[in-house]
């Protein structure tokens, strides 16, 4: 039992750090944070990783993965956190990509995987509906067969970044006769198809991340179906465990905590740095210790998967605990910002405040409230662990 790196792994770590020094900087970080430049900067960052061959660590090599060991993946993620670099968007690389290379046809792989890898295709996820949230299997968007097409009618909601998306992967109902989980199919849909309307939903942070996507007689070729008709739930479930693992946000939490530590060392608290305040230290220590634990929980899960196991309830555990910790670090971040975290940027010239992170702290706190809800609410994750993990 050890966590030491070999000489090759140390050399790899140096290579990753050098890559980040050369390809990621504060300017890019700021452009990714700014909603106005988010999409272009995100794609720019993805292309840098793609050019290096480092865009899909979790994928098999034959589909464009890196062929890294778990240790290398850990080194890479840790280096990203150190550098304050965000991961690339998960919709293509962590969600639909694995479904396509696992269950898709040869043609689908050739058509879609390159764009997912190089960032040319932006994907969004069409799962939730106004009447199907935590109870996802209750979805009602209908797909009726008409010749070589399906005709889609219905509404998807909470669709993150649909306004940027070229394609959507969606769960649709192709049969109503059996149990709700049966009769669902998994479709890949071009967002430019006539009949698709994207309506913005402004979130609690005042930003436009979320959308409602409605389908009115949208024709989708049957060849864009993944796998068998009515078997979509099986494919979606496989995806969900990848998604939940991806939602743990451990690298993000480490980044925020590193940042909070620096900021709290500079904030005045009754004549002392805030970082010296024992109450603040205790709070931060509680969060950091849980995060250190979760980092190893994730590594233990990866090791299990590498040995042939599948991430089952462990992925629910990572989602559950990871999102709790995301909110805990966001709370801490907001509290370090103090009243400056409440200033709305539209009303003030931020540079005149002499405080440059309040806006970010507020937005991350506000949108962070969503993380315990999306990807299957944390209460649903607890149901999953209770039933499938503990056998209750």
């Amino acid at each position: 039992m050890h966590a030491t790196f070999s000489a090759e792994e140390l050399a790899f770590q140096e290579e990753v750090r050098a890559f980040l020094r050369d390809n990621f900087n504060d300017d890019m970080a700021a452009r990714i944070r700014d909603p106005k430049t988010f999409k272009a900067a995100t794609i720019e960052w993805q292309k840098k990783r793609f050019d290096k061959g480092w865009v899909a660590p979790g994928w098999p090599v034959e589909h464009g993965g890196c062929g890294w060991s778990d240790t290398q993946k850990y080194i890479f993620d840790s280096a990203l956190a150190e550098a304050g670099a965000p991961d690339v968007p998960p919709f293509g690389l962590k969600m639909v990509g694995p479904v396509i290379y696992t269950f898709g046809t040869e043609e689908q792989k050739q058509q879609f995987l390159p764009g997912i890898l190089n960032g040319d295709t932006w994907w969004c996820q069409g799962y939730s509906e106004p009447g199907a949230g935590s109870d996802l299997a209750g979805l009602q968007t209908r797909a009726e067969r008409d010749g070589d097409d399906y005709v889609i009618n219905g509404t998807k909601i909470w669709t993150t970044y649909a306004q940027y998306a070229d394609w959507i992967f969606a769960l649709v109902r192709t049969d109503n006769s059996g149990k709700p989980q049966q009769g669902i199919s998994f479709l890949l849909i071009d967002m430019r198809t006539p009949g698709i309307t994207v309506s913005p939903i402004i979130a609690i942070d005042g930003e436009h991340h979320l959308n409602e996507v409605s389908f009115e007689n949208v024709r989708v070729p049957v060849v864009n179906r993944i796998g068998e008709e009515n078997q979509g739930w099986t494919y979606a479930k496989a995806l969900l465990s990848h998604e939940r693992t991806a939602l743990s946000g451990i690298a993000y939490c480490k980044q925020v905590l590193n940042n909070v530590r620096k900021l709290a060392a500079d904030e005045n608290d009754d004549g002392q740095p805030l970082l010296n305040n024992p109450t603040f230290q205790a709070r931060m220590a509680d969060i950091e210790m849980e995060l250190m634990a979760l980092e190893y929980t994730e590594l233990r899960v990866l090791a299990t998967v590498a040995n042939g196991g599948a991430p089952g309830m462990e992925s629910s555990l990572l989602k559950l605990k990871g999102t709790e910790l995301q909110q805990a670090v966001q709370n801490l971040f907001f509290d370090v910002a103090g009243l400056y975290g409440s200033v709305l940027p539209a009303d003030a010239d931020l540079s005149s405040l002499g405080h440059d992170y309040g806006d970010q702290a507020r937005r991350e706190y506000m949108y962070g409230r969503a993380c315990t809800i999306y990807g299957g609410s944390n209460e649903v994750q607890k149901n999953i662990i209770a039933k499938f993990g503990l056998g209750l």
Partner: protein, 376 residues
């Protein structure tokens, strides 16, 4: 990076799991506890024959030369059964300090017998005012014509009553010094107590105890450093014991919830209870992860070993108690009886929290290491 046990460690785990399954049921445990010393001499002899008493001791001294991973494997299994043998006091503390010291005469006198199971050791370091501060002590030795004269008193010495040799921390010319003291020496007065988890401890009074000239195990900064190392390893080992106990509590609670019926169904079908058991599971997994983390960094001699160990002990203290309290609650009225062993686990986890720095103390230590002036 590799979190698996090696072949030797796996054998060790299999051997103690098998032993505990056969020899450590709740009723058997009660019989062992009822013996005069608070544990079974026969079981201790089994530990010796199975080689477990040699595990942490250096090969040069005839030991197995095992690491903290090996002792954690043993302690975790002991935690699953709330074992009552004084493995911590006798082997991980007392014997280990003798073995790591630099006094060949003392080693020759005790180690072989300790490993054979015929001699017990203990480490007498805590005094009434010490709490978790190692050098907050008044015990003092002075030089005499033939050696040393030791005076002072120690409290709550783990395995203090059964020990044949006491490793005693005392000041000698203002240097922190460890002495090997035969427990039957003139002037040694022992008062034995039971702790709530079945462990036996003793308050020990040293009244001008005459010690031979070759009684010093180690002195000065080296002695304090040695004690810190031994306590750091024991801290990880008791945390492993806590993780074993937590896993067992979760398993028992789930089983009970699936069989106990109220309102016409097993209580485990109620979502309010399911979610509480998921919280127990999450806390247990998080503690297991910190155990792996601390074992890795400690074995690798890494700089973050100290903060990893502090995090482990802080979390095990906090979550261990919480998991046990939840287990009692979910067992309902039965949980507060002595009929079930749930209470035994709660008591052990509470005792573990108080050992070597409780949850609050360890969290403060962690914060000092991570955010204090000396932090990187």
């Amino acid at each position: 990076m590799d979190f698996s046990l090696n072949a030797e460690q796996q054998l060790l785990k299999d051997s103690i799991d098998k032993y505990m399954a056969e020899r450590y049921g709740a009723d058997q445990r009660r019989q062992y506890l009822a013996e005069g010393t608070g544990f079974s001499a026969k079981v201790w002899q089994d530990y010796a024959e199975l080689g477990w008493l040699t595990v942490p001791l250096p090969e040069a001294e005839g030991g197995f030369g095992g690491s903290v991973v090996d002792t954690s494997v043993l302690m975790e299994a002991m935690g699953r059964s709330v074992a009552v043998e004084p493995y911590l006091g006798s082997i991980l503390l007392g014997a280990q300090l003798i073995a790591l010291g630099n006094n060949a005469a003392v080693k020759g006198r005790y180690l072989e017998e300790i490993m054979a199971g015929s001699c017990h050791a203990a480490f007498a370091y805590q005094e009434r005012r010490s709490r978790h501060q190692l050098d907050a002590m008044d015990c003092r030795a002075e030089r005499s014509a033939d050696g040393y004269r030791l005076s002072g008193s120690k409290t709550l010495v783990l395995n203090g009553a059964a020990a044949d040799v006491l490793v005693v921390a005392a000041w000698l010319d203002d240097a922190y010094t460890l002495f090997a003291v035969p427990a039957t020496s003139n002037g040694v007065q022992r008062d034995a107590f039971k702790l709530m988890d079945g462990q036996r401890v003793a308050n020990i009074q040293f009244d001008a105890v005459e010690l031979a000239g070759d009684s010093v195990i180690c002195e000065g900064d080296a002695a304090l450093a040695m004690v810190e190392t031994v306590i750091a390893e024991a801290t990880i080992a008791v945390s492993a014991q806590a993780v074993g106990a937590m896993e067992k509590l979760l398993k028992e609670t789930v089983e009970y919830s699936n069989t106990r019926k109220q309102f016409g169904q097993p209580i485990g079908k109620f979502q309010a209870l399911q979610h509480r058991m998921v919280d127990m599971y999450t806390a247990t997994e998080q503690c297991r992860s910190l155990l792996v983390r601390a074992l890795c960094s400690h074995s690798g001699g890494e700089a973050q070993a100290a903060s990893d160990t502090a995090a482990l002990k802080a979390m095990v203290g906090k979550h261990g108690r919480a998991v046990a309290e939840e287990a009692v609650q979910l067992h309902g009225g039965m949980g507060v009886t002595e009929e079930l062993s749930i209470g035994d686990y709660l008591k052990r986890l509470m005792v573990i929290d108080t050992l070597f720095g409780d949850s609050d103390w360890q969290r403060r230590r962690f914060a000092a290491l991570r955010y204090g002036p000396q932090a990187a």
